[in-house]
Amino acid sequence: MYEPILSKPKSFFETYKEKTGDQTITHYCPGCGHGIVHKYVASALDELNLTDRAIFVSPVGCSVFGYYYFNTGNLQAAHGRAPAVATGSKRVNPDSIVISYQGDGDLAAIGTAEIIHAANRGELITVIFINNAIYGMTGGQMAPTTLVGQKTTTTPRGRDPHNEGYPVKMCELISQLNAPIYVERVALNNAANRAKAKRAIKKALKLQSERKGFTFVEVLSQCPTGWKVDAPDALKWIEEKMIPYYPVKVFKDTSNEAEPYPEAKEIISGEKVFEILGIKRDEKKEETIKYEIPEKYKNPRIKIAGFGGQGVLLLGVALAQVGMMEGYNVTWIPSYGPEMRGGTANCSVNISDSLIGSPVVEKPTILVAMNKPSMEKFEKDMVSGGILFYNTAMIDTEPQRDDIIKVPVPATKIASDLGNIRVGNMVMLGAIIEKTKLLPLETVKSGFEYFISRKNLIPLNEKAVEAGMNYIKENNL
């Protein structure tokens, strides 16, 4: 009897069934570093007993076929996007062990944003970064990590810093960020360094399993095919050329101090979701109209306009909210965008006993003009017989039309007398409901909680509405 002392890690498939051609050997070129690093990842998963929880993200690059080999969950990602894919996967699989395995083109060129931000968010993933100073998969073009002077198919005269810049040092960059807890660069050039590489990968995965934080291991890895050298010379090239530029060391290790991330929160479902969304589900189906709007003002198409800051949008929301509470169909549309900032703001409100077609009020039956430019802009659009409420505290001219009802209200002045000019909009609301009986005061009052977000301001708003109503009554308007 004998026991095997060297065997294939169990985190690898026995035979590579997804692979075309010979299913017992990998697709990597002879002498390539990828296979070695794959083995370190697989053994680490075996030793840490993490195989079943592991999700391997294969990038675009030579390791695009990582899923041929790893007997784990497998996601293949678009070029450079592996850290984002890993983020999405880990966030919804909080107990999994997610490995983003990437080449240098993938990670340090096209995917620069994704790696930096996954690291910066401190995603609970492990990134294995294969730095082989070349684009292997596409046939030996320059990588962001290609050394100065190094010849590739796209730097035929050698990498020239004036044209291509300098090789990117990712460990140096990543270790500047707060969130990562472990950043190490290792190399595959000799037995001692390979042992370190194996340990680093295992440590990173272990830290992930302890929910400690983002871990990053860069591996200086040989690409004899891309470098156009034989395997032994490739190892020498790592030692002589790469290591002097890319120092092999631990750049950051705060794993001892790092507190484990809190466990993921439980997902809430069922009826409780309604509670969270602030929706009270009641049994009654169709809500019928409760308050009859006087015939003359039925189905109003309302335009409200003024300066940004005069609360014209909120006045519109108030009318829509209260209309809805009385059982009407309502719409509210703001003029949004640049118009909202500084200049005039306006909104369209419909309150209707039937389905509302166009929500845009082109010809208002009710116009509320809080300032002069608004009256000038919209008075001419009003329907004949419409009603215009205009803020005489801000408008020193008279309306032009003779075929409309004109209601002058010094809204801003009344509001200022109440101690806050910002409630001029609610003064107008009071004037509107008193003059037109469009909506009942009681419902306006019970609507406050929906459209006034600062609850302590509700009494003041209520006073403003009443002041507006009184103004109409007292002046027999």
Binding site: A54, E114, R281, P359
Partner: protein
Amino acid sequence: MSKELLKGNYAVIKGALLAGCVAYFGYPITPASEIAEAAAYYFPLAGRTFVQAESEIASINMVYGAAGAGVRCMTASSGPGISLKQEGISYIAGSELPCVIVDVMRGGPGLGNIAPEQGDYHQVVKGGGHGNYKCAVYAPNSAQEMCDLTYKAFETAEKYRNPVFVLADGFIGQMMEQVEFGKLDPVTPKKLDWGVHGTADSKNLINSIYLDPDELEAHNRKLQEKYKKMEENEAMFETYKTEDADIVLIGYGITSRILRTVVDEARKAGIKAGLFRPITLWPLAKDELNKLKNSAKKFFVVEMSNGQLVEDIRLVVEGKIPVEFHGRMGGNVPTVDEVLEITKKLS
């Protein structure tokens, strides 16, 4: 009150949570930002994931990762962001993953402006990414439908394992209306069996590579079969007064609301006008359009674009009756009067 006065953009998120969506990955952009803001507020309260990504590219790839677990997840953006997402959407379609993508359209091309437009029809309905794929596209025209069609989009996405769009315009996103929540049942989130969950019994593969041309062709044929089924089963539309209509107005989103008013006004002026409103832009309700092209004398398509839906309408009509077009761009919304005037001229 099970009714709420709500912006369309907020209604999307309430619908999504009720549909059992567990993760939202987004990046801010006007006029879609309220969707991300609502998700940022509500998702964590329900133990679900919200991540503001570094870009739309990252956010759609996070969706890929989460969808790869067989859970319901989503993202939202507007034109410039949707352009960036197209690569990821192609991968999602190729890997047969379900997800919901909301596009609240703004003016383009380029940075354009933030006012409402419908110029993303081509990039969304035709599939703006590479390869032979299709996405179902729902086009809500009210805040209620922003909720209901988002909810429905999750079902369709999951049923076919395919990305599904909710294509709205700035107005539908920014408009507040009453939204009734009484009818939607909250879906309990689950992880589907084919997904990668990081467990011993979910060692699945999510992938869109097929090196062998025959295998890739077979994969593509399978996708086309799926799209055929979607065409057969998922088309939705609404008609208004089309039974005796001589002229059928056609539009989606905010435009369809304006057209409905135009139909009423035109009828007052003695014109037999009707409205066909596609609720799904793909698949398009071809049977109904074929019926209408036999009963009506003329189609009149109105869009807030240079004429994109109209191309597909013309394909269905095959020259049988005239298909007229009126488009506004740049964020201008066609007025009832302007469309009515043209309708009168065309009648």
